[in-house]
Amino acid sequence: EITMSLIGMKVPMQLCLLLCSLRFILSAEKSDAKSSRDIRCKCICPPYKDVQGMIYNQNVSLKDCNCLHVVDPMPVEGKDVEAYCLRCECTYEERSSGTIKVTIIIYLFILGLLLLYMFYLTMLEPVLKRRLFGHSQLIQSEDDVGDQQPFANAHNVLSRSRSQSNMLNKVEHAQQRWRRQVQEQRKSVFDRHVVLS
């Protein structure tokens, strides 16, 4: 429970810092690991006489990115080469495959964490609540404004037996406060339609 409350408050700040630091790591990665898969020169040549249209891809640098270097083997003979190459269009493109991979993996990781936490908050916590405190507390809880009130008592009950440091107490209080805020927001937006309608 304590790790979950820790996650509740510290996740956003940590993630912001993580993202910022990762951006510097990514740029460093890009600059020294420019693998050959990440640059290409793409030449598109339309149909000419009886040669059909073709697309050529090669890993060449910017100065070599033209029809003569990339179109290989050349489908036409000597004097037609110039006419053929005039129609072709060659573009040089770069990408960073490392950035893409890291970004997608981080995004999915964060999404997964959020989904797990959401699952915990909506499904597991009421079940745990019921199991720890039985039915009587649940009836009492229905009069409360927030459905986490009995659980707040649970934290207090459990904490009285062991000595908790100031920090953990504060984190739990912060988490309870956050949940109350979210509940207020939910009421404003979804129930009373006061903002964001």
Binding site: M9, V11, P12, M13, L15, C16, L19, C20, L22, R23, S27, K30, R37, R40, I44, C45, P46, P47, G53, M54, I55, N57, A83, R87, T91, E93, E94, R95, S96, S97, T99, I100, K101, T103, I104, I105, I106, Y107, I110, L111, L114, L115, M118, T122, K170, V171, A174, W178, Q181, V182, Q185, R186, S188, V189, F190, H193, V194, V195, L196, S197
Partner: protein, 785 residues
């Protein structure tokens, strides 16, 4: 006994407020801001992160307006203190450090969003087998098996039906692909709305109307918080990937403002002063638009024109810096693989002709008409959602809209792909090498001209198919966006309106092009079109149409034109863009004065006093002030006649935000004004901490203690929370002037006097109600104070 209130020192300059207010009026009206040098920043204790913020006298309550004058005078105070301590250099740099951090984080988040959207949009259709994290285009990037006719097919990318059953073509494969497309779309939308509902309900919607209100001085606690930032970023990707007809530009402004709020809380210079914080938020909004469009200058102008309320010159320079840093960060992440910031950057230089202004103006008219219709329809639908049972099922509503969108969008190839890709294809001109259906012109096989100079060609059958598919897509987008903007996931409006305009523009461009080709002997075309020359560029028409529709909906002027020409990379098309933007604004204004954001502000009843409207009625202050005839008299405090008990009862019985203090009930001469919140906190503090203060203690606001018999309990001095220079007008002041004062100074209330005696009070809510009444709108729709 000395008072234990913390800001007594800050408020003792209330006597000199008059001078500061004079300076402030100069600053705000003349433009350039006076900055005598900046101050020390205090770094907060990290453990304080978990403490509940102590509601001291300087914080505001949720859903209340700030006092701009007080914030300004507190900032000037802070300046003087820091100057005396000589730590000015560090303080001066704190502003620039905040801008730098905002730019870095906004650019990073925008890059993450772009890459993730790219991947997840393609995930609805298939998957890349060689590397699961590649989108369709990235997957086929290195492949050598792409052919000229099938440019986007490669063996590494397989559609779901191909993966599951091994068949790529056929009716069964089509149905399976269709089914899985709809399923993925529903899954993404469901995740998005659930995350919004459970973690951050403020993350839904566009965000721009609320940010406009916040920047005008309103407080919405939690709207720019860390959880809102995280959830908005994550769910924006999900919402855009699910194929809904929404964009990411408005939410990116919200994300950038959340970053601004996050970093401004690191420095006490910004975290403790709501007025200074709004300067940072203005700059952050500029950074948000800059990364959305790849247009730093357009972003600054958008922040200036649309979002901000007060915009001193200092903010202009800092916004530009933040926008540049954000654009540079996004470019270094390079999400689109070719060093461009936006997916639909075009770079052609074909000339346009004067006679083409006629279709451009027609596109402007279309944009204005569509904008007005969209605003009316969307507001009507949102009002229905707000007041009827529809609003009780937000999750079901999102799922229903997604289902309808996905089911109708899949069959049409132009709506199946993401809207950004559609716009990109429509903006691009057709060279001889394009293989899309839209570019299926009949090519002359002997032609050897370079791409830019292809003469006009007759349309092949593919173009006609594309035109009627595009027409269907246009109708679909027009209808579905009305129901999509405002649902409970992050939703923006720029991309759908640009799509509507681009489709209309492209259809018109192709029509004009074919007319010019087939009837090149008509007088109009003969003057400008030689046969065998390039006359008409349908891509340009698409751009002009997009600008017209965006202008019609948001009623932007300068910022729209600058954004569009930064998108196109050239100054050649400024005149067509301006013609369309101006026409669409005129036509739109003929139907209704407000853009979509002002309309949403009105729907929600935010206390936003628009600076753009002109108040031209001839009412006086006496017509608007309270109390009117028949109402109970004004609730006032006397300077030394009320007891603590009386004050508490007054606070309990009424819900006014402040009370004027007069000399006595008989003479009613005004001394000052005291805020309700300050009074409550001061009395609570005094009861707890000062000895001898009981219910019968007299509350006095004068400098010296009043003469009381010795049997009376200890009196309570509350002079330090009294504002000794409240704004007053006489009862014959025209409302024009009063509205001007409220706008320029950001007042919350203004007292009305006659011959020196207090007559009544005008609050911002009264002003807004009066303006609504004058415009024949419902004055009871103003909800907040």
């Amino acid at each position: 006994p000395h008072s234990s209130l913390t800001n007594c020192r800050n408020n003792h300059n209330a006597d000199r407020s008059a001078l500061y207010i004079f300076v402030l009026v100069w600053c705000v009206t003349a433009g350039p801001s006076v900055t005598p040098g900046e101050e020390v920043n205090g770094w907060g204790n990290p453990m304080d992160l978990f403490d509940e913020p102590f509601p001291d006298v300087s914080t505001y309550e949720d859903f209340h307006t700030i006092d701009w004058l007080r914030e300004k005078s507190r900032d000037t105070d802070r300046h003087r203190k820091v100057r005396s301590r000589r730590v000015t250099l560090l303080d001066a740099w704190s502003g620039w450090v905040v801008m730098l951090l905002i730019g870095l984080l906004s650019g990073t988040l925008a890059g993450v969003i772009d890459l993730a959207v790219d991947w997840m949009t393609d995930l609805k259709e298939g998957v890349c087998l060689s590397a699961l994290w590649y989108s369709h285009e990235q997957c086929c990037w290195t492949s050598n098996e792409t052919t000229f006719d099938d440019r986007d097919k490669c063996p590494q990318w397989q559609t779901w039906s191909e993966l599951m059953t091994g068949h790529a073509e056929g009716a069964g494969a089509y149905v399976l692909n269709y089914f899985l497309y709809v399923l993925w779309a529903l899954f993404f939308a469901f995740l998005a709305v659930s995350l919004v509902r459970v973690f951050a309900p403020y993350a839904c919607g566009s965000g721009i109307p609320e940010i406009k209100t916040i920047l005008s001085g309103f407080i919405i606690r939690g709207y720019l918080g860390k959880w809102t930032l995280l959830i908005k970023t994550v769910t924006l990707v999900l919402a855009v990937s699910s194929g809904l007809s929404l964009g990411k530009e408005g939410p990116l402004v919200h994300v950038a403002c959340c970053c601004g709020n996050l970093f401004s809380s690191l420095f006490s210079k910004y975290s403790k002063n709501e007025g200074k914080r709004r300067e940072v938020l203005s700059a952050a909004a500029a950074a948000g638009v800059s990364v959305a469009f790849g247009a730093p200058i357009g972003g600054v102008l958008f922040s200036l024109e649309e979002v901000s309320y007060y915009f001193p010159l200092k903010t202009l320079w800092r916004s530009f810096f933040a926008a540049l840093v954000a654009a540079f960060t996004l470019r270094s992440i390079n999400p689109f693989g070719n060093n461009r910031l936006v997916l639909f950057y075009v770079e052609y230089h074909t000339p346009w002709y004067m006679a083409e202004l006629v279709p451009f103006i027609l596109l402007g008219v279309f944009g204005g008409v569509w904008g007005a219709l969209f605003i009316r329809a969307n507001i009507a639908w949102c009002r229905r959602r707000k007041t009827t049972r529809l609003g009780r099922y937000p999750v079901l509503e999102v799922i229903a809209v997604t289902a309808i969108t996905a089911v109708v969008a899949f069959p049409n190839p132009y709506t199946r792909r993401s809207t950004s890709q559609l716009i990109s294809e429509l903006f691009n001109d057709c060279g001889p090498l394009d293989s899309s259906r839209l570019c299926d012109y009949v090519n002359d096989p002997n032609m050897t001209r370079p791409v830019d100079d292809i003469p006009d060609r007759p349309a092949g059958p593919g173009v006609y198919t594309a035109i009627w598919q595009l027409a269907l897509a246009l109708i679909f987008k027009i209808v579905v966006t009305i129901f999509t903007f405002g649902i409970k996931v992050p939703s923006g409006l720029f991309i759908p309106s640009m799509a509507v305009g681009a489709i209309a523009g492209r259809i018109m461009g192709i029509a004009v092009e074919q007319m010019a080709y087939h009837h090149h002997d008509w007088i109009i075309f003969k003057k400008w079109c030689r046969p065998g020359a390039d006359c008409v560029t349908p891509g340009l028409y698409a751009m002009v149409g997009a600008a017209a529709c965006l202008g019609g909906v948001t009623r932007m002027t300068v910022s729209l034109v600058v954004i569009m020409f930064e998108l196109t990379g050239g100054l050649e098309y400024i005149v067509p863009l301006m013609a369309a933007a101006v026409t669409s604004k005129w036509v739109g204004d003929a139907f209704g004065r407000e853009g979509i954001y002002e309309a949403h502000i009105q729907l929600n009843g935010y206390p936003f006093l628009d600076t753009k409207d002109e108040f031209t009625h001839r009412t006086l202050a006496a017509d608007v002030m309270h109390p009117r005839r028949g109402e109970p008299p004004l609730a006032v405090l006397t300077q030394d006649g009320t007891t603590v008990e009386d004050v508490e009862e007054l606070i309990k019985e009424t819900d006014y935000n402040g009370f004027p203090v007069v000399v006595s009930r008989k003479s009613e001469r005004l001394i000052g004004f005291v805020q309700r919140r300050d009074l409550t906190l001061a009395i609570k503090n005094a009861r707890q901490k000062q000895e001898g203060v009981v219910s019968n203690s007299v509350v006095y606001f004068t400098e010296e203690m009043p003469l009381l018999p010795p049997s009376c309990p200890q009196p309570l001095k509350l002079r330090c929370i009294l504002n000794l220079s409240p704004f007053t007008v006489t009862d014959h002041t025209p409302m024009e002037t009063v509205v001007d004062i409220f706008r320029k100074l950001g007042l919350r209330q203004c007292l009305v006097t006659r011959s020196g005696r207090l007559l009544g009070i005008i609050t911002k809510k009264d002003v807004l109600r009066h303006m609504a009444q004058m415009m024949n709108q419902d004055p009871d729709s103003i909800m907040f104070n």
